[in-house]
């Protein structure tokens, strides 16, 4: 994309010279570094409940965030008004973090490198609404048709199209056009007069609308949600205490996100209060485990062409054969720790300060047959779907909540078990991984990660794995 083609040039008449002058304003008090993050965001959403399309909404938001760094300090201001005087004012406010004479007065902005991971010609946000409304209606019909015990269905579709432009005092200017779409379906099942049970499923990515019209139709998510709800009707109490846990492939990779991913974000490690601080080169998992964070996988929800500081994303090995290799770095942490950025600087919007974040975090595939893994367990549980998770960075304790799991008895799956939270300690949990399957799968594309009040889309993935010991929070 050329500067002149960007929405910021065409709609707001922003020129390269403007960017240079605002950067100069931001550094007028002597900051070491400044950047401008422009965002123009179009969103749409449609929700269906009780077979009625109850809500359809669309919106526009825009703004610019100005950041100034001096040493380890950050000054930040933003404006949701893209007029030159408001942008200049924000730059002046952010500049106040520093106190000294201006160091630089000239910039020569050059366009920075980026990937082309989502070459979507027409973003879902740019299509006719009627087609998207049809998706939620189809999901509703499919979930109800799955089983007569399904009595409530909600389906939700949302997409957005985000245009960003990042100009830095290092001399880089980067543009990106970031499409995103997601569907989710939840279903409730009831048998006779018994209590209801819920099932949920969804998927999406940085894709065009064809994604939902071909390989990932609404029926796929709908039947999956309905299936989970029906399965749970027969659920028994989950075990309480330490047991062997087998995780199925895909979304259970949330284990990695919580157990190791957050603890390896460089801001926590720069400041020395992560359970992983100072452990590079140490063994933190069994040698079967290699964990990667990769922002460059085409069309994935967690991928971006450039991070929100203008760095091209990359594939970062976090744990290699059980040994801790590296942290996820943004600009500030990497300059303090004197390494390079790993393309992990992300932010929720122009109103937020970037920080190191995950993209798509997964474990590399192994050699075991997934069936052999289940057969190897005399007594334990097999978890195939999860709700959310959380971690205490400092102690390393993490949880994630199983929403669909089964008892394993004598190597066979027997009964489904009720929702239970699994708890472990980050630097210890993966040491008990004794088998890794040959069936690596990435999740369907619905993950959102929250950190310090900022949400960003992420992906996870994992092959089937066996963890010899983990605490399961049931009642039986």
């Amino acid at each position: 994309m050329q500067f002149s083609d960007s929405v910021f040039a065409s709609r707001f008449n922003i020129t390269s010279r403007d960017l240079e002058s605002w950067l100069a304003e931001a550094l007028s008090q002597g900051g070491d570094y400044a950047d401008l993050y422009f965002e123009y965001l179009l969103t749409s959403s449609i929700s269906l409940d009780e077979s009625i399309v109850k809500s359809a909404a669309q919106g526009v938001s825009m703004g610019v965030g100005v950041r100034v760094i001096v040493g380890e300090r950050t000054g930040y201001a933003y404006s949701d008004d893209l007029s030159p005087e408001k942008i200049r004012k924000a730059a002046r406010v952010a500049a106040c973090i520093a106190a000294g004479p201006a160091k630089v007065d000239k910039f020569d902005l050059q366009e920075g490198a980026r990937h082309n991971l989502y070459p979507v010609l027409v973003a879902p946000t740019e299509t006719a609404f009627a087609e998207r409304v049809d998706l939620v209606k189809r999901a509703d019909r499919a979930a109800r048709a799955y089983d007569s015990r399904i009595f409530q269905v909600q389906s939700f579709y949302a997409d957005n199209l985000r245009y960003v432009m990042i100009a830095t005092s290092d001399g880089g200017v980067t543009f990106d056009r970031q499409p995103m779409a997601r569907m989710s379906v939840s279903a409730l099942a009831r048998q006779g007069g018994g209590p209801p049970q819920a099932g949920r499923a969804g998927g999406g990515g940085r894709v065009d609308l064809d994604y939902f019209l071909t390989d990932h139709p609404p029926e796929r998510f709908a039947t999956e949600a309905a299936r989970e709800a029906v399965v749970m009707l027969d659920a028994v109490e989950a075990p309480a205490g330490e047991t062997t846990v087998v995780l199925g492939p895909g979304w259970p990779g949330i284990l990695l996100h919580e157990a190791v991913g957050h603890g390896l974000e460089a801001d926590f490690n720069r400041k020395g209060f992560s359970a992983f601080s100072g452990r590079i080169g140490q063994k933190v998992a069994s040698e079967l485990c290699t964990v990667v964070d990769d922002g460059t996988i085409a069309s994935r929800r967690g991928s971006v062409n450039v991070d929100d500081e203008g760095h091209a994303t990359q594939r970062n090995v976090l744990i290699e054969n059980g040994v801790l290799r590296g942290y996820l770095q943004d600009r500030l942490s990497s300059s303090v720790m004197q390494t390079g950025s790993t393309g992990s600087g992300r932010r929720e919007s122009y109103a937020h300060i970037p920080m190191p974040r995950m993209t798509n975090t997964f474990m590399m595939t192994g050699e075991s047959d997934p069936q052999d893994i289940i057969r190897s367990v005399p007594k334990g549980i097999y978890c195939v779907n999860f709700g959310g998770g959380q971690v205490d960075i400092t102690s390393g304790n993490f949880v994630f909540s199983a929403s669909e799991s089964y008892l394993i008895e004598d190597g066979k799956l027997t009964r489904p078990v009720r929702n239970a939270t699994l708890i472990g300690n980050g630097p210890e949990a993966l040491k008990y991984v004794s088998m890794v399957g040959n069936d690596l799968r990435l999740d369907e594309g619905v993950g959102t990660c929250g950190k310090e009040g900022q949400s960003v889309p992420v992906g996870v993935g994992i092959p089937t794995i066996r963890i010899d010991r983990m605490t399961v929070g049931g009642t039986a």
Partner: protein
């Protein structure tokens, strides 16, 4: 644009929507200024300062709804706001229950709710930074084992909320808040633990002294050092007031009008029945001045009120907006809540457990072997079934006293049994936000550990 102009804009958008074919319309405008300063290891880490505003519109054409929002207040932006909402009403389905509250339900409560305090805006930046610095310094100086810190923050927000609808309602109010939070890290040998403490108020003068916030945070982190993972067992569980609040979040979801009409709550259909121990009374009150759940009217223009949700163990009311009320054949409880766009959801006002008579100490004194929970982790609560399973940390109770720290365990049960099994309610009710609960004791839950 000043406040009067924004009010005119909201009314104008409603009128223009009607002129464009809407049969009803609601317009919300929010504007605000935020400030945030972070201090870490006695140095300024970041300062953030900005103002923003946005408008949302929801229209009905008959029983079909369309919504839109924008942060672009130019004439083009407002024209698009109107066009989007009208266009979307074409694609939604006729919903027999869609609509606005009846005109006689609309209104605003009288009197000053003390939501706005001018001292927040007037505060000089150096004072804000210094307040955070003092809180962190007190934490760092509290004990030699406090060796690190996630930092301390001072945050404030001053905003204006405007709402107009096509049934003649217009209302606006200003609100402010400020807070100080600090998160120290304690270390001793191999053990490293963090915790935090905070104070928040509508005005600067309402904040607790930063030193006391810092010292409390330090004590909370220190008492977690060298935790033990206990054996799996069934024992009495005492929730410190800080985490007892989270049970109210779960209860809120269970009495949420939408969960009720969808039958996705374990409390659906239980109105008038005994659902909790006789000692439990839970109230939602959006009219308590100065508190964080107070507002003169809800997000549909219905006056805030006091609703007794559970009265001495008996379920008395759900929390409803006008839509859920129409679905259930009831009246709105003035609990409509929404962002800028979409249909109104449901929110709570000041949602709290009425204080009991026992001090927290006397509750602990009655437990020979049990778990005092001070932190909960994760999202393992299913309000459809009531199944409850969460990560927990805290202190073990031995012979009526706090004996040693515990972590990496879970507590599990079912909310139905937990509510009925509440056998002690503390006298220590204190509002730190819109939900509040005193110390609560549940007769027995499963603690899963080793």
């Amino acid at each position: 644009m000043n406040g009067d102009c924004l009010g005119e804009l909201a009314r104008g958008v409603v009128q223009r929507a009607l002129a464009a074919g809407a049969t009803d319309a609601e317009c919300t405008i929010a504007e605000g200024d935020e400030f945030s300063a972070n201090v870490r290891m006695k140095e300024i880490e970041s300062i953030k300062e900005a103002g923003s505003r946005a408008a949302g519109l929801r229209i009905l054409i008959g029983r079909k709804t369309g919504s839109s929002y924008t942060s672009d207040f130019s004439s083009e932006g407002i024209a698009l706001l109107l066009k989007s909402a009208i266009e979307l009403a074409e694609v939604t389905t006729e919903d027999p229950h869609a609509g606005l509250p009846d005109p006689d339900e609309l209104g605003s409560i009288e009197g000053d709710l003390r939501l706005y305090s001018p001292d927040v805006e007037q505060l000089e930046t150096p004072v804000r930074i210094e307040t955070a610095r003092r809180a962190e310094a007190a934490a760092l100086e509290a004990d030699p084992r406090i060796v690190n810190s996630e930092g301390a923050s001072f945050d404030s927000h001053v905003g204006r909320h405007i709402f107009a609808n096509s049934r003649g309602f217009f209302g606006e109010y200003r609100a402010s808040y400020c807070s100080v939070a600090v998160a120290p890290v304690a270390k001793d040998g191999d053990s490293m633990e963090r915790d935090h403490w905070y104070t928040l108020a509508r005005g600067f003068s309402g904040l607790e002294p930063p030193e006391s916030v810092g010292r409390t945070a330090a004590q909370r982190a220190l008492r977690r050092l060298h935790p033990v993972k206990v054996e799996t067992q069934r024992v009495p569980v005492v929730f410190e007031s800080t985490v007892a609040r989270s049970l109210l979040d779960n209860l809120f979801e269970a009495v949420h009008g939408m969960s009720i009409y969808r039958h996705e709550s374990f409390l659906a259909g239980k109105l008038g029945e005994k659902v909790a121990s006789d000692s439990l009374t839970v109230v939602d009150d959006g009219t308590l001045p100065g508190l964080f759940g107070a507002q003169p009217f809800d997000d549909e223009g219905v006056p805030s009120r006091r609703t007794v949700v559970i009265d001495r163990g008996v379920l008395k009311s759900y929390l409803l907006n006008s839509y859920a009320a129409r679905k259930l054949g009831m009246k709105t409880t003035g609990n409509a809540s929404r962002g800028l766009t979409g249909n109104a959801g449901i929110g709570h006002g000041n949602f709290f457990v009425e204080a009991g008579v026992q001090t927290p100490e006397s509750i602990l004194a009655g437990v020979s072997n049990g778990f005092y929970v001070t932190e909960l982790m994760g999202f393992g609560v299913n309000v459809v079934t009531g199944d409850y399973s969460r990560g927990a940390a805290g202190l073990w109770i031995r012979g009526g006293e706090l004996a040693f720290p515990v972590s990496e365990v879970t507590i599990a049960g079912n909310l139905k049994d937990m509510l009925l099994g509440l056998d002690a309610i503390g006298s220590d009710l204190e509002f730190r936000g819109a939900t509040a609960a005193p110390t609560l004791k549940i007769g027995e839950m499963t603690v899963a550990g080793k």
